[in-house]
């Protein structure tokens, strides 16, 4: 449990840049809000890797397609 808390704290540190309050008619829920911030960095990184991987794949696919012509 203590170890998990330490990881969560590290996540918070990593994503800590500038603070800004959010306002909306819908209550985002404090726990949901904090959790979203914590996983955002990891999910964003995975997403970027996915995008680059797709670009690499598509580059090689085009290359192979081009050569086979």
């Amino acid at each position: 449990m203590r170890e998990k808390k330490r990881y969560l704290f590290l996540f918070l540190l990593v994503v800590l840049f500038v603070t800004q309050p959010v306002s909306a008619y819908l209550d985002p829920g404090t726990g949901s809000f904090i959790w979203q911030m914590m996983i955002g960095f990891v999910l964003g990184s995975i997403f970027m890797l996915k995008i680059y991987w797709q670009k690499i794949k598509s580059f090689y696919k085009d290359l192979v397609h081009h050569e086979s012509k």
């Binding site: 500038v18 603070t19 819908l26 726990g31 964003g44 996915k50």
Partner: protein, 460 residues
């Protein structure tokens, strides 16, 4: 709330940016001045055209009708009519899943135009021409760099939690949405889900750990001041939710779809004659909309829907509704809408003052009801007397096609095989007498090669 001869819909009160009202039978949406900047951005950036073109957002027209509350009004828009308003607890697994994916796709596209969804309610999605579309045009707001997705909690509660429960626990758990109007609480979903779901990365993150975070911060009273969330992080979260939902699958266990629910005690001759009679009755009445109660997989619903008559195919069995929905998608059957319904306990009015989500009866009356091979289930399995069934049907329809199945029929005999026959009043004579209190019998035809009789009735 009624103002003069118009009515502000009871479901339209949460968002101060506008509301829906009905005037002279038409549905309008008032856009308030506070929403002006966001509405203009939606229309000017091209997001509206993009989403409408992709059939993800309901199209609307700006109209010159007088506002319902003029002092706060910016514009009045008239959205395209939705044939029948439905609720997530009436949807099959794939209907809810497609609605979830549509919501995420809308959020993804909106972010491309620097807008975002400020809510992700399942009630904002309706089926228009068979496709899930967002009906709340005021759901968009300008994306502010660094903001998280304000609707994340709502999306998880309205879509992800019920879908996960339907996949891993029991398909009937979508009925929790009837109890929890703002979606299934994540701590409840986390408790109900089996341990093996902790190995599913998406479910672990968006339900189990999300629920723990909610619990941990439930007592937070002071304003929170958190770091900004980069746009890529937001896109990553939407992508993660999309992948998680996309991988959730459900198929009826132990059944072969090809033969599922196709048992019938009709001969081919009898079945064809029944279809012929229904076609004849449809020709006589020319209904504009139909509810087929106990539709099974929509065999008879299609007699009407394939000729362009909007037909709702209700059934109690999630497998039947799922199968019918998948077929409507595959064959582009835009006039057929399958829905889940337990007729002995139909959708009630729920939410604030029991009016936020309307009951089945309040969404009627419909032009015509099909009650085919249904009556014996209601009267014998559910002990409902004929007069009560007739009274109910008279409340929900103007015309009725109903099938009388006598006690001698093999289906009724099967139902009575293991119970005492306490149904002395179950005769064709009493059936006609009780239904004549509410309906005029227009046509009466015995179905050949069977003991059954088909009736066309008109409400008195």
């Amino acid at each position: 709330m009624r103002v003069n001869n118009t009515e502000i819909l009871a479901s339209s009160f949460r968002d101060p940016c506008g509301f829906i009202f009905r005037r002279d039978g038409a549905i309008y949406r008032q856009v308030n001045g506070t929403y002006k900047e966001h509405y203009d951005t939606l229309m000017a950036t091209g997001l509206y055209e993009n989403l409408v073109e992709r059939e993800l957002l309901v199209p609307h027209q700006e109209v010159g009708v007088s506002p319902e509350i003029p002092n706060i009004a910016y514009k009045i828009i008239r959205p395209k009519d939705i044939s029948f308003i439905t609720y997530p607890y009436e949807w099959s697994f794939s209907q809810l899943k497609q609605a979830a994916l549509a919501t995420l796709e809308i959020e993804r596209v909106a972010l491309e135009y620097s807008l975002t969804l400020k809510d992700a309610s399942a009630y904002n999605i309706q089926f228009l021409d068979g496709k899930p579309v967002l009906i709340d045009t005021l759901s968009f707001e300008k994306y502010r760099s660094g903001d998280p997705w304000i609707a994340y909690r709502q999306f998880c509660q309205h879509f992800l939690a019920p879908l996960t429960l339907m996949t891993y626990c029991d398909i009937r758990l979508n009925q929790l949405l009837r109890i929890y109007i703002d979606g299934v609480p994540l701590d409840l979903a986390s408790t109900l889900l089996p341990k093996r779901t902790w190995t599913n990365w998406g479910v672990l993150m968006h339900i189990h750990l999300h629920a723990k975070s909610q619990k941990k911060h439930a007592d937070t009273r002071s304003p929170i001041d958190l770091p900004q969330m980069k746009r890529n992080s937001l896109l990553g979260m939407v992508d993660s939710l999309f992948t998680t939902v996309h991988h959730l699958k459900w198929r009826p266990e132990g059944t072969e779809w090809a033969t599922y629910y196709e048992e019938t005690n009709y001969s081919q001759l009898g079945l064809e004659h029944k279809k012929k009679l229904i076609r004849k009755y449809l020709e006589l009445t020319k209904p504009c909309s139909i509810w087929d109660l106990g539709a099974n997989t929509g065999l008879f619903s299609r007699l009407a829907s394939k000729y362009g008559v909007f037909t709702v195919a209700f059934d109690i069995d999630p497998a039947c509704v799922e199968r019918t929905y998948l077929e409507t998608v595959k064959h582009h059957e835009y006039c057929l809408l399958p829905l889940l319904l337990d007729l002995t306990n139909p959708s009630p009015g729920i939410g604030w003052v029991n009016e936020e989500r309307t009951s089945l009866i309040d969404r009627g009356p419909v032009d015509m009801v099909f009650a085919l091979a249904l009556l014996h289930h209601l009267t014998i399995s559910n002990n409902l007397p004929f007069d009560r069934v007739a009274e109910f049907l008279a409340r929900i329809c103007n015309n009725l096609i109903i099938e009388f199945v006598p006690k001698e029929d093999s289906q009724v005999q099967r139902m009575l095989a293991n119970r005492m026959d306490i149904f002395d009043g179950y005769t064709q004579e009493i059936f006609e007498r009780e239904f004549s209190q509410h309906f005029i019998i227009i046509q009466k035809d015995p179905i050949i090669d069977s003991l059954r009789t088909l009736y066309l009735m008109k409400r008195c």
